[in-house]
């Protein structure tokens, strides 16, 4: 198919089109194989299985919508659904706010910023199995987290003294600065650091002088983070404590990833906007409220969507925690699907599992469609 190297020679259009298409399909062949066999066909088959009764061995028999109806009356599925949705909403909200805060803090021209970025990013690079094992250990009854809480309880008077001192000093410093005719917002960072350090020195002095003492006879905190069926904070809006423990660790691992997206977004906001706002005398808070947030709207939608998609598939943590926590307290849709396909000794209920999997896919799809609608507006 080699052609003469005469520039300007017009080859027939059709053959060129066909050639290009053939080349494209050749280039795409391996990817298409992966996509068709392990995604498209797999998705279609799961949809089919969800209307059948199937145990991985004998042929599937068609049962129509019976699996879906059965799911609605199965307590374990309803628990998994509730856990999944609670988990996704809470973690997404927490990590979005946290990621934005981190990005604002890191969006500086400072030396050594790469070090900090690397430090923050470590948890999200490490594997979920490793992180979960480490956190199971931290969450033990005699673990480091309960120990830190115990220490905080023992020294609570000193901590309170420090907080009160900081507030008092900060107010005094701000009033002094304003009295000297210099503008200072209530949360002026440079003053805040000064206030914190001074208050720290003052409370340390009070502690040494014996005015503020550590509390005697504090019982060690022994919160069972994992091995409990209790819920917190109780009432209508509550989640099992073990699930909340996983929420904490997931927020901690994924916030840095989204921080990177926010950082990229922050760097694209035109400087002129802030300069104009400064000239008009807008405070830092007003600038954040009326420039930064609206400019980051698209990034926020992306972060929320990716966050929801990611958190809806939470599986690894539940599988690794295993019998450290009661299953009802941590089970998610993803784990429900897995445990019904491989119930370990019992008969696999693939139909039910497939119906639950389709529910999970539908939830994901709804999230994406909402995002598309919002972005298009």
């Amino acid at each position: 198919m080699k052609e003469g190297r005469t520039p300007g020679l017009r080859r027939p259009m059709l053959s060129e089109r066909v050639q290009e298409a053939v080349a494209a399909y050749l280039f795409l062949a391996p990817f298409l194989f992966s996509l068709v066999v392990f995604f498209a066909y797999a998705f279609a088959r799961t949809l089919y299985f969800s209307f059948t009764q199937y145990d991985l061995f004998s042929a599937p028999t068609w049962v129509g919508l019976r699996n879906y109806v059965a799911l609605l009356t199965e307590p374990r599925f309803l628990t998994a659904l509730q856990n999944s949705i609670t988990f996704a909403v809470v973690v997404t909200a927490a990590q979005t706010v946290f990621a934005l805060m981190l990005a604002l803090a890191l969006n500086q021209k400072l030396r050594g910023i790469t070090f900090f970025r690397a430090a923050y990013y470590m948890p999200s690079v490490a594997s979920s199995v490793v992180i979960t094992l480490i956190f199971i250990w931290l969450y033990q009854r005699a673990g480091a987290i309960n120990y830190l809480l115990t220490v905080a309880l023992v020294y609570r008077r000193v901590l309170v003294a420090w907080v009160v001192g900081t507030v008092v000093l900060q107010s005094a410093l701000v009033l002094y600065e304003r009295g000297r005719g210099r503008p200072a917002s209530p949360l002026e960072p440079s003053l805040l650091v000064t206030a914190m350090l001074l208050a720290g020195a003052a409370s340390a002095a009070l502690w040494v002088a014996g005015v503020v003492t550590p509390v005697e006879g504090v019982q060690p905190v022994a919160i069972p983070w994992l091995n409990t069926r209790r819920r917190w904070p109780g009432g209508p809006v509550s989640a099992p404590i073990p699930l909340e423990a996983i929420m904490l660790l997931n927020t901690w691992t994924t916030a840095p990833t989204f921080m990177l997206l926010y950082l990229a977004g922050l760097q694209e906001i035109p400087r002129e906007l802030y300069e104009a706002a400064s000239v008009d005398g807008a405070s830092a808070w007003q600038q954040f409220r009326h420039i930064t947030l609206p400019q980051l709207r698209h990034v926020t939608f992306l972060v929320v969507t990716l966050g929801l998609i990611g958190t809806l598939q939470m599986f690894d943590q539940v599988a690794v925690i295993g019998d450290q926590a009661p299953l009802e307290s941590v089970i998610t849709l993803a784990y429900y699907v897995y445990s019904n396909v491989f119930p370990g000794g019992a008969v696999p209920r693939v139909g039910q599992a497939a119906a639950a999997a389709m529910t999970l896919a539908l939830l994901t799809l709804v999230v994406v469609l909402i995002q598309r609608k919002v972005v298009e507006r």
Binding site: T46, L260, A264
Partner: protein, 454 residues
Amino acid sequence: MSDAIARRRWARAGAIYLLLLFFSILFMGPLLFAVLSSLKDNPAEWPPRLDPPQLRWRNWVAAYRLGQAGGGSGWFGAFAPGAVVPFEVTYEVPAELAVQGIELPRVAVPRRVPGAGPGAVRTGPFAADMAEVVGPSIASRQPGPDGSVLVTYRFEVRHTGQITVDRLPVDVEVPRGYRFVEATLSPNRTERLGRVQSWNTITPGVIPYVFYNYTRVFGENYSRTTGRNLFLTWIGNSLWVATAKVLTTLAFASMAGYALARLRFPGRNVLFVVMLFSMMVPSQVTFISNYLVLRDGIFGLSRLWGMPTLLNSFTGLILSGLVGASAVFIMKQFFESLPKELEESARIDGASPGTTFRRIVLPLARPALGAVTILTFQGAWNEFFWPLVVLTSPQDKFVLMVGLSTFRRAYGAVGFDWGPLLAGAVVAALPVLILFVVFQRYFVEGISFSGLKG
């Protein structure tokens, strides 16, 4: 006035650094604490200390010397025939007990297994069967604080048998009220309200002393079917699978990405939608069918190579993850950002798309290929769910993450043996963390490439 402004600018920079530092502690703290605790004898101690004896250089020197005294090397230690191991322990005897005369401690070499779980399935010889304790005797006495006496006892452990063993555990028991001060090597445990000082081994060598939990992870896990060292096997499996996936992904993602970015073909838009869809749908939705496809050897095709099923095989794991949509996406984004002129001039010169791709486009794609390499390796190394489904038996077939997740049960069956668990976790996390530190730029680029979905 300008002074005040400069002062304030400095203070503001300081404030930001303090904030950054606080967050660093928040993110790095748990990981660093886990690494530190993986060296401890008891990572679940209360209160958790930050200075385990494993980090004191005095103990390193002692461990080196004792390792040599035991007839092994200073680095790895052993307890070999003909060895004579001298050891000293110092106690503070309170005044009211010292008046009644100083008693000698009881020194014993116990038959002790290394720990719970796999560590309790101890086969092979015990040092207790071939060790003879000579002594103890009083080596020195010194007056201590308020009338007490500091007594140093000396004893020797001699090897009387024919076989070399790796550990020489020792327990020293003293009368009630005697307070432990120091020893040639810091003890690993104190039991019975301070009356028993216990050593895992007094001939350790530096590495088994400092990294005791690590030697346990590598040394205790053997396959029941083949007798191979499991932890090393798992690391090898993970490396092999991750490397294979990186290679296939590099080749196929750059090809597919180029076609999507530059070539026109019917069905392009449909493919694009399916691709995005595949990135969003959880793998728990598609795994049922994929499991069956591998079980039946990809529609029976694998039988041509004499494999009736692809379950429990790395071939199956690699074939089912040849190339991911996100890698294709990164490559596509990158190729779209390249200027078109180069390719157009090549086309006018009559080069086929294949030639253009190989000769002109690929050499320019190094940054994107770097990002894909790093992210694919990280993804494959950390992947847990799909390998858990595909690789079920025997244990030799596990990849590292699946193997590591079995440790929780293995070492947690009877009261948690956290040392090997944490050590295993640290080893499993290291390769990716090192890659990340070295190639940080590529990580960040990859994330921002894939994050900017239009």
